[in-house]
C-alpha cells in the first residue's frame, strides 16, 4: 500500500528554484503570500553552471553564478519563502485549487508558477560531466569575454551555434566549429551561413562529432571523431561551447498547459499559461532570450500576477458571487465610463438589496473576464443568487435597461 502523502496548503507553489523560481519567491513572499519553492536538486538552477556573470546589472565587478543565486536565495528566505528540495512527480491543474505532488507531499495551491527552466543538450561524449562549467560552456553572451585572444571550439551548426560562434570571433583569436554534416551543409539560416563562411577567424570541421573531453582539472582538449574516416583529432581549446539545443524540463506538464512542439510553455506577456492560476517564468517559456536578467523580469511579472489572481479569486468568490449584485465593468481612464458611475450610484441607493461592484479594467482585466468571458467594457453584469443572469453590453447600456433586469 502506498504511503499516505502529507497534505500542505499554500497560496503559491513555485516549481523550480533557479533564477526565475527564486525571483518569483521574492515577489510572492514580499506580498505576504504563503509560498513554497520546490527544487529537484540544489537551489540556483542552471545559472550555477556559469562561472562568471558579467552582464547582470548591479555587479560592476562581475559575479559568479553560484554567488548570485545564493543572494537570490537569501532574499527569498528573508521574505519567509519555504524551500523543499525534491522532485515534483505530478501536477493536477484541473480544479480551482491546484495540486502539486512530490513523493511525500501533496501541496494544494491557489496559484502555481512554473519555473522549471531548461537544460542544454549534451553530446554524451566521454568525460563530459566532469568539465561542465570548467571549460564546457553553453552561452557565448555569458562567457565570450573570458575567451579574449584564446582559441575556442563550438559544437553544432544551428542558428545558435553559428551566430554565437560569430559573436565569439569578436573576442577569441580562433573559433573552430565542429559540424556533424558534410562539407557545405549547416543547419543555420543562409544569412548566418554566408557571414560565417566569410569570417576569417572561423574554421569548419565537417563530419565530426565529439569523442571525448580531456584536461587536468579544467578542459584543455577535445577529441573529435571524423564520421567518415573514423580518424580522431585532438583540438586544443580554452573553452568548448555546446550549441546543440536545449531541452525544457516540462514532461510533467504534457497535456496540462499549452506548449510548443519542442516543449516550451506558451504564455501571455503577463506570464499566464493556458490554465487560469498557472503562470510560467524564465527559460521554460517559449521566448527569445534566456538570461538571468530576463528570468528576473518574467518572474517579477509572474509573482505579481499570481498575487493579483489570488486576490481577485477571493473578491470574486467571497464578495461578488455571494447573493444578488450589479457589477459595472468599466475603464476608469475613460471619461464616459466614469460618468456612468453616477447612474450606478443612484441604482445602489434605489435597490439596496443589490450589492454594487465597480470593476475597473484599467487596473486589471482579470475580474472582468471572470464575470463575462468576452470581457466587454463597459458593461453591466446582473448577479442573482450567486449566478450571472444577464450581461448588458455597451450598445444597450442604460439605467433603464439595468432596472428592467432587476
Amino acid at each position: 500500500m502506498p504511503r499516505e502523502k502529507k497534505i500542505e496548503e499554500y497560496d503559491v507553489v513555485i516549481i523550480g528554484g533557479g533564477a526565475s523560481g527564486l525571483t518569483a519567491g521574492i515577489y510572492c513572499g514580499r506580498a505576504r503570500l504563503k509560498t513554497i519553492v520546490i527544487e529537484q536538486a540544489l537551489v540556483g538552477g542552471i545559472a550555477t553552471n556559469t562561472n562568471e556573470i558579467e552582464n547582470y546589472p548591479g555587479f560592476p565587478e562581475g559575479t559568479t553564478g553560484t554567488g548570485l543565486m545564493k543572494l537570490f536565495h537569501q532574499q527569498a528566505k528573508k521574505f519567509g519563502v519555504k524551500f523543499k528540495l525534491t522532485n515534483v512527480k505530478t501536477v493536477d491543474f484541473t480544479g480551482d485549487i491546484k495540486i502539486v505532488e512530490t513523493f511525500r507531499n501533496r501541496y494544494k495551491a491557489k496559484a502555481v508558477i512554473i519555473c522549471n527552466g531548461s537544460k542544454p543538450r549534451l553530446t554524451g561524449a566521454e568525460n563530459e560531466e566532469k568539465y561542465v562549467g570548467k571549460g564546457i560552456a553553453f552561452c557565448a553572451t555569458c562567457d565570450a569575454a573570458a575567451c579574449t585572444d584564446e582559441e575556442v571550439l563550438v559544437i553544432g551548426s544551428g542558428d545558435a551555434a553559428i551566430e554565437e560562434g560569430m559573436f565569439l570571433t569578436k573576442f577569441a583569436s580562433k573559433v573552430k566549429v565542429s559540424i556533424i554534416h558534410d562539407e557545405g551543409i549547416m543547419d543555420c539560416n543562409e544569412v548566418a551561413k554566408s557571414a560565417a563562411l566569410a569570417n576569417p577567424k572561423m574554421e569548419f570541421l565537417h563530419n565530426t562529432v565529439v569523442e571525448r573531453f580531456e584536461g587536468e582539472d579544467e578542459l584543455t582538449t577535445v577529441v573529435l571523431k571524423n564520421l567518415k574516416t573514423g580518424e580522431l583529432t585532438s583540438i586544443d581549446c580554452f573553452t568548448c561551447f555546446l550549441f546543440i539545443g536545449y531541452i525544457p524540463n516540462t514532461s510533467i506538464y504534457e497535456d496540462k498547459v499549452n506548449m510548443t512542439k519542442s516543449g516550451y510553455v506558451i504564455t501571455s506577456e503577463n506570464m499566464e499559461t493556458s490554465v487560469p492560476g498557472v503562470f510560467a517564468a524564465g527559460d521554460v517559456r517559449d521566448k527569445f532570450l534566456r538570461q538571468v536578467a530576463t528570468c528576473v523580469g518574467d518572474a517579477a511579472t509572474a509573482g505579481v500576477m499570481a498575487e493579483k489572481y489570488i486576490a481577485e479569486t477571493e473578491i470574486f468568490e467571497n464578495i461578488i458571487m455571494k447573493g444578488d449584485g450589479i457589477a459595472y465593468i468599466f475603464d476608469a481612464s475613460k471619461a464616459d465610463h466614469r460618468k456612468f458611475l453616477e447612474e450606478i450610484e443612484e441604482l445602489e441607493k434605489e435597490y439596496d438589496e443589490y450589492c454594487c461592484h465597480r470593476v475597473d479594467t484599467y487596473k486589471s482585466r482579470g475580474l472582468a473576464q471572470r464575470l463575462c468571458k468576452t470581457g466587454h467594457c463597459p458593461s453591466v453584469i446582473i448577479i442573482k443568487n450567486g449566478k450571472v443572469v444577464k450581461v448588458i453590453s455597451e450598445e444597450t447600456l442604460s439605467k433603464n435597461e439595468i432596472e428592467k433586469n432587476l
Partner: protein
C-alpha cells in the same frame, strides 16, 4: 508496515554521512524511509546525489539554519 529510521550525522564530515547512510539503507526494506540529519555542506550534496543515482526517492529539507534532513525512501 514500512518503518522510518533516523540517522544522526550532525557534526560529521564527509564521507561519514554517506558511508553511514549506505550501511543503514542496506539493512532496510523497500518502502522504508531513512532520514539522515546532516550539517556539513558536502554531505548535503553527496548524500542526495548518491541516493538519487541508486534510484531511491529523495527529499532534502532545511530544518534549521545550516541543518538539513535528507529523506530517502528505499525503492529497490
Amino acid at each position: 508496515m514500512s518503518k522510518e529510521v533516523v540517522l544522526d550525522c550532525l557534526g560529521e564530515a564527509c564521507p561519514i554521512p554517506l558511508v553511514k547512510s549506505e550501511k543503514a539503507l542496506e539493512k532496510m526494506e523497500v518502502g522504508d524511509i531513512l532520514i539522515v540529519q546532516i550539517d556539513h555542506s558536502c554531505a548535503m550534496k553527496n548524500v542526495p546525489e548518491w541516493a538519487r543515482k541508486q534510484g531511491h526517492e529523495v527529499e532534502l529539507e532545511e530544518i534549521d539554519d545550516g541543518e538539513w534532513e535528507c529523506i530517502i525512501e528505499k525503492m529497490k
